[in-house]
Symmetry: C4
Subunit: 289 residues, 4 copies
């Protein structure tokens, strides 16, 4: 990370350390302050959307929004100032979100109504993951994310097969059910199919003919049973991720084979003594004591 | 697969390679083009079922449907032409779907209204799995399918027990609940029972008497708890499938026992050196280096 | 099982073999015929409960019911005849169900309306498990049942904790929500709480106040997360059940320890050669060849 | 526990043993009697909240409530009497609940209407866990609780990510959907989002525009798939908890390494004989026989 720090000491470097890094007290403080500000700005957007609160506290919300907007704009300014290639930041994912978060309020000065787009600001909550990174939670979350990445392919395939199944069954119900039951088009029937298969079941659309209800039962039992698939796949990937953490990447100096547990002292294939480096540091300490 | 290729070179063989195989660039291209055409035809069927779109773009959809029908008919013709035993194809699962997909449009020339059956065409989406086969996704999907096959018996038994349970409880609610609550017959009560047990819960039928609601609670808690069964069974089958992939099928030349890991060099039962062929090729490379 | 067979050959013994056992062709045939008859009688009860079918086919259903009742009564008679201690049968679980299944129709001769209780007959479907016993399905189902028995204690504890949680939260909503929203009493609020926690969500009762909706969110997220508990516990019990099947019950003749895998030839604790009997029969064959 | 017992024999010590401990017959009896009384008082609160029961049995419920209140007050008095530091008890979690459980009835003597707060008494059900502690259930429940503690961090992180996702998608639906569909504010839209993602699906609020329904499908499929995360994590933690119970905490006297199975006799790393104490008592018996 330090490689990206602008050369030459001074205000720029100091600001960079505070804004973009979090290994100094000021850097940590900045991240936490930003998190609090984002949560507060989200709170204002949420409460302002409630009609009764808007009427009573509308003026307060209006000023709070401007304070947040000015602070966020200032933050963008500082980020641009202390970077050597600010264009890359402005084109990056977070950069675009940062700018979009302040744009609606500024635009509202010229275009009335632009303020309704202020909900875009909610996307800034994604920055909160930065704060989580500093907490122990992320160490644990890494397992979740790793296992999710490994099972991604299979879960996509699963969802694809589910979609095909739902499309075929839903079209059947579009033919069988009367329009009064809510099955007015195939896309609407597919919406109902997903609502049913995922066991959400709003009830805004529901089959009324015996045949339609029979096919619905098939969809429900399918949805109820195949939830086992993503769960099973994900569980196994969690186990695999944990196992990979247990095995060393080092090869045996005798036979060149891999797959030694991190606390192994001898190669399990040829019996060669595995050199110190492949040992788990903790195990070394114990052995020497 | 090549064994099924018709003898004698020429146009037929070339067509066969393009249409039925996918190891040539043209063969792959054909599969992808067919997938795109199927998805487009499905899109037309879906959008045409929306009343407002039908009124505005109905004519366009009409022509699009004819273009798709002609192309699909042409495809069937080519398949029949380049096969030696076209009857077997026409009687096969995919053959029947292929013909059914084009029949409604042709029939509509003679029988008005036959066009409504064009949704049958959605079944052609099953052909899309052919394209998936070429992608890495299927390698991952094989694990899912294998584990599903292994757990099939138990999941069927589970669904059977669930159905019996639901039938008994639903009949009770048919006796308890007034007809106004929607429990007008036992089959309808069973429909409600499945809606409840699978936690779909439309709410079109719901118990209104205290006793009925108490029995409903039993069904809900049962449904909520026993989802653990298919999930647990499937998870274990995924683990078993993975383990089977890790163990070699080869027997030890010394004692004849099985269950050696694929990268094992010595029999774990009697210590005999396992011959090269039973070794994992990757492990050999590492051992030689 | 043969120990329970009445002494002395003749008609009684023959009937016993047919009705209570299934290792003869006639015994198997009887079980299957009974299963078919039960399913048919269930079908008649189900269809007769549909008003429109009752009006059209009511007479046919009436006669079908009498045929089934007479056949079932005959079956009870034969069971009583060929048993030495028929009282024990009549007091047993299945005996009571068998009698209850035919009682309503006979009673209807004297008490008009007793026929509505004919749904009790559905309990006879439990006899179907007898047929399943002969099929391969049950071998697989045994794993399910074993794992379910092992995890029973924990799942009951889980349901108990869930009930306490729901009671406390539901009472809160009873205080918060207006009666118009459907929260007319605490038992009704608990019904709503279970509907919510199990993610059924009929929508016949739903919170309308912001605070009530906030507490509902807590219940939903809890219900969504803690489904992990029964699933996790059951999965582990399935794995444990499978492991127990893999280990031999035999102790090592050298050191007396247990926990040897069924295909092990030497004690893993002291190296003593395990005698032939503890070997997996399949492994012996391979070793001799 | 005995360390906390007040010094000096006599009535106080006897009462302490009965009320706070459960290793004497009287102590067990007290715990069970208290559990029954709590369940009965909960039953009265539940039934009294039903309007029709209140009108018919209101007077009985009134007296039952007073009996329970007096008994509970007496119990508090005894607890205070036999403790040396009663203030610590009154400030403790259970102490506060105990007092809150009797307060409403006493307050109702002076302040009319205070009785509606009697539902607070339901919190006393938490004391029931004390009774469960004596039963075998808790031994099994410990596994559940341990695994839940281990997976807590990851499940909180999971719920946090879910909340962020729901907030962003729900705000989108607030912008897209008309107010008539129920999306009157962002907090209400978030309520709907949680109802949808957790697959509860009341149907009191449901999207009506095609775009809104499309985004809903995304939320449903997400909710349906990511249920795999808490389940997978919890399953793995159950397995880890079980494994930890299998491994000894003792270090090898030869090489100082850990991770020996409880029934191991020799260090698996250096072959040193592990001293008796680290052996499983059961294994010793078998070895000596």
């Amino acid at each position: 990370m330090h490689a990206f720090r602008p050369a030459g000491a001074g205000v720029k470097t100091g600001l960079f350390q505070i804004i973009f890094e979090s290994d100094t007290p000021l850097g940590k403080g900045f991240d936490i302050a930003l998190a609090v500000l984002i949560l507060m700005s989200v709170g204002v957007v949420l409460l302002d959307s409630v009609e009764s609160y808007h009427q009573r506290f509308g003026v307060f919300f209006y000023y709070a929004e401007w304070v947040v907007t000015v602070l966020f704009t200032l933050e963008i300014g500082l980020r641009v100032y202390c970077l050597e290639k600010p264009r890359l930041y402005l084109k990056s994912f977070y950069g675009v979100i940062d700018v979009l978060a302040v744009l609606p309020t500024w635009l509202a000065l010229f275009i009335p109504g632009a303020q309704t787009l202020v909900v875009i600001r909610l996307l800034r909550t994604l920055r909160l993951f930065r704060v989580l990174e500093m907490m122990t939670l992320v160490g644990e979350g890494k397992l979740l994310v790793d296992a999710l990445k490994r099972s991604r392919g299979q879960i996509i395939l699963f969802l694809f097969a589910v979609m095909m199944l739902v499309t075929i069954f839903s079209s059947l119900l579009f033919l069988i059910e009367p329009a009064e039951a809510g099955f007015t088009s195939i896309p609407k029937a597919i919406y109902w199919g997903i609502v049913t298969l995922t066991t959400v079941g709003y009830g805004d659309i529901a089959p009324v003919t015996p045949l339609g209800q029979f096919i619905s039962i098939m969809i429900m039992l399918t949805g109820y049973s195949i939830i086992a698939l993503p769960v099973g796949v994900f569980s196994v990937e969690v186990i695999n991720t944990l196992r990979d953490e247990r095995y060393s990447d080092e090869a045996c100096p005798g036979c060149g084979k891999h797959q030694h547990e991190k606390n192994a002292r001898y190669c399990k294939f040829c019996g060669t003594w595995l050199d110190e480096e492949s040992l788990d540091p903790n195990a070394v300490e114990q052995a020497d004591s």
